[in-house]
């Protein structure tokens, strides 16, 4: 019995300590109101205390509609860069994002006003039709987006999302390198946070809940 009580008090102390540390840590993050990125100690999300507003860009979604700066406004947007001929990291990440969306949808605030956007950096192979088929498979609400190299480079550049298409003439299967991060834009079309791989659905939905609550608090 005594041992159980001891174990319990050790556990409670640990919980209290963890809560204190988390408090100190968050306070510290929000005290620093400069535009430097803050990678939280869990190495999962980098929050920008002073989110950077994006400037104009023009892409096209899988239904041939314009996807531009206005498409980001009024919604939280999760952006992921990739290409459909990607066997490992892209389907893995999209499956994680689909699960994260399910988690968010179950939350009281829900998934209205949230969009998930897969941006193909390989417009040469990823036509609108192919992109639609691809993103639909993971979640019918997902958007597939692409454009010409200059416009993809424009948005990727604003987010610091590196990519490289190593296309060579006559090559059917060329390698494509791309950022594996998930970028979070806020409803004011500002670059708000970035999730670092490896991604996990529960972590993304939990962290997003906190980010959204903090932002709602800031707005009022």
């Amino acid at each position: 019995m005594q041992q159980t009580a001891l174990k319990f008090s050790i556990m409670m102390t640990a919980v209290a300590l963890a809560a204190m540390l988390a408090g100190v840590w968050l306070a510290d993050i929000y005290r620093k109101h400069d535009s430097r990125a803050v990678l939280l100690p869990d190495q999962v999300i980098t929050l920008f205390p002073d989110p950077k507003p994006l400037t104009a860009f023009a892409l096209t979604d899988h239904k041939n509609r314009v996807f531009d700066l206005a498409s980001l406004k009024g919604k939280w947007s999760f952006l992921f860069f990739g290409f459909t001929h990607c066997p490992d990291i892209c389907p893995t990440t999209l499956a994680v994002l689909a699960r994260a969306r399910d988690n968010i949808a179950k939350n009281t605030v829900g998934a209205d006003g949230i969009q998930f956007v897969f941006i193909s950096v390989d417009p040469n192979r990823d036509t609108a039709g192919k992109l639609g088929q691809y993103v639909d498979y993971f979640d019918t609400t997902f958007l597939g987006v692409t454009g010409d190299n200059a416009q993809i480079g424009n948005l990727a550049g604003q987010l610091g999302a590196a990519y490289q298409v190593a296309i060579k003439p006559g090559m059917e299967n060329y390698p494509v390198y791309h950022s594996a991060a998930v970028f979070l834009m806020d409803p004011r079309a500002r670059y708000h946070a970035v999730f670092t791989p490896p991604h996990d659905a529960e972590t993304i939905s939990r962290r997003f809940k906190v980010v959204r609550e903090l932002e709602a608090g800031n707005a009022t």
């Binding site: 459909t84 001929h85 490992d88 691809y134 610091g160 590196a162 390698p175 791309h178 950022s179």
Partner: protein
């Protein structure tokens, strides 16, 4: 006396010889699966846990399957902020150790499936090790 029936004898023989053969092979595979892809996609990835049961290194040198045009050993690495796939010509398994092929890391890149593969479908992929050991591994397609 029923146990002397030739079918039973064969069954018992098969059951006793099969594990012995793979034991002798020295490498076992667990949790082998292929990620189902959206329809029409030509690139898939296979994952598994390889275990070297011997006290000497085992080297995976190739993989192949009748279901795919080609199978390559790949690893996803993140370098300079970019994910890239690196072809591995061979992979050494340390003695008595496991090596996990998992999303975002080592994987078998499976190109141009010859038939549409859906969740639940079984697929056999042959793993070849240095020294001539060939291991047919049943994979399961999963969503």
């Amino acid at each position: 006396m029923r146990w002397r029936h030739p079918v039973f004898v064969c069954l018992i023989l098969a059951l006793t010889i099969a594990p012995a053969a793979s034991e002798e092979a020295g490498v076992s595979v667990r949790d082998a699966w292929i990620r189902e892809t959206p329809p029409g996609m030509t690139m898939m990835a296979g994952y598994m846990e390889l275990r070297n049961n011997t006290s000497r290194p085992q080297v995976l040198v190739a993989a192949g399957s009748a279901v795919f045009e080609s199978v390559m050993i790949h690893r996803t690495i993140v370098k300079d902020g970019m994910a890239r796939m690196v072809h591995a010509s061979q992979i050494e398994l340390a003695p008595n150790a496991s090596l996990i092929f998992a999303p975002g890391g080592y994987h078998l890149m499976l190109m141009n499936p010859k038939r549409a593969l859906r969740a639940g479908d079984p697929v056999v992929i042959n793993l070849e090790f240095r020294g001539g050991l060939a291991l047919p591994v049943p994979f399961e397609v999963r969503k």
